[in-house]
Amino acid sequence: MARTLMKGNEALAEAAIRGGCTHFFGYPITPQNEIPEYLARELPKHGGVYLQAESEVAAIHMVYGASASGGRVMTSSSSPGIALMQEGLSVIAAAQLPCVIVNVQRAGPGIGGIQPAQADYYQMTRGGGNGDYRIPSLAPATIQESVEMMHEAFEIAEHYRTPVYIVSDGMLGQMMEPVEFKKRKLRSAPKKDWAAVGHGGKREPLVVKTMSLVPEILEENNRKLQEKYRLIEESEYQYERFRTEQAEIVLVAYGSTSRIVKDSIELMAKAGIKAGLIRPRTLWPFPVQPFTRLKPFCKQIVCVEMNNGQMIDDVRLAVGDRFPVTFYGRTGGVIPTPAEISEHVKELLKRG
């Protein structure tokens, strides 16, 4: 199929339909509105259901109900809206139900602004709801990758019975790029014999639930959840390395920031600086592996984020005390330029 020029948000919505999404529940918030708008128009044409909820809180519980009864469900929102969904996400994770949540990040904290940011790294990787749970977080850097990760998100969700985040941002969602929807055979989903669909008089009634008033049973449930998370950590991490083999300076960035960093690496190369990039494609599980392979001649690792330093915690955990790790970031919706990043690195090297 030929490539078409599409906005990031609309491409995600189209990819959701092609990924077999049957139900979407959401609430308007900038800068993700093109997703619900596209699905309101297109999902019914494919036999699916689009429904606008009265709030993000209601939307995520509609997602929960639809998933609990066997639907292939998603929602999308942006940072403060995702914060409102945390109650439901904790329930969905605990009930082990599949669904996909797109977060087109905007600047915070509070109501913040509508320009791009990556200040939800903690929200995307540490959970915002109560209890011990994890949510796999896929972080695309291009619109093409957004489309591919949307398919993958549904597959991971159904395979592991877990909510999955697509971590986008206002830049990636609003920009246009050529995108190709490759014909892709959907991985066959496991049978949903856990879904509440009515027992039909043929089996015992089942309950989708998360409450357990017996501490030992709840602890056992938690142990099983953690077992699943260990499996996801071992199997589902993804990353890209760019010129890290010879790099004296290794930058770490994800999503749209990683593209800016790549441009800054070109600028640095012209100035004779050997810089490389490690780009996590999954934020949780965080890809520790590329950090273990860094060569001793690497002088420093610089984490670049559109926030005040969040992913840097995971980078430090991955690196330990083997290399110094520093941070460069812009916030509030300010997007760093390749020139300012390369200037920052030059200054670091001057200081030695």
Partner: protein, 247 residues
Amino acid sequence: MSGIFTKTRGLKEQVTHYCPGCTHGIIHRLVAEVLVELNVLGNTIGCASVGCSILSYNYLNVDMIESAHGRAPAVATGAKRVHPDKVVFTYQGDGDLASIGTAEIIHAAHRSENITVVFVNNAIYGMTGGQMAPTTLLGQKTTTAPEGRDASHCGSPLRISEMFAQIPGASYIARVSVHSPKQVRRARKAIKKAFEYQLKGRGFSMIEVLSTCPTGWGLSPIEALKWLDENMIPYYPLGVYKSLEDD
């Protein structure tokens, strides 16, 4: 020999955890009997809510989804939109429906979501130990209104059925009680009608059932039935508040 009275197969073989004299058990039975009578037991998805009745899924013989506090109407919406052909209901208390879940219940009614809501109003938070609910009567003492509910401090009790009768999307709204055999029979009829409305695709139906909480009220079971009759019914009059048939 045929029995003159048997347990409905709409209920599981379980002893309930409800306090002596609590009327949740009667209401469970009515819902169960109606689902059997309408022959939809195997075709039903129930949504349990937070409060004493969260464990209703241990007693009702249907597939159920446990819902977070106040969110059962949203959960039911999700399930119904996946299975428009199935019977979907919520079973919610007054703290759940009339306080923390007001947004979800009002908008489910506004969308005329084709679900049935069994709303159990006992004018108190039972599960958490007898705190004031939006439905607590003026002057009624609770653990968080030790001197009795004072309107100037925390407003007057919320009349849910009256409020929902104003919502265009609501198809059947009735308030019933289970404090006497006569009222139990009436409640059963209303609950049946609400589910029939759903089966006919008429949209949102809700039955408010006045219920006792002897433990929370500090009364014996018999005193509690009397208290309901003398105090709740004057403020919460029984009757049909909306019926599409009447339109």
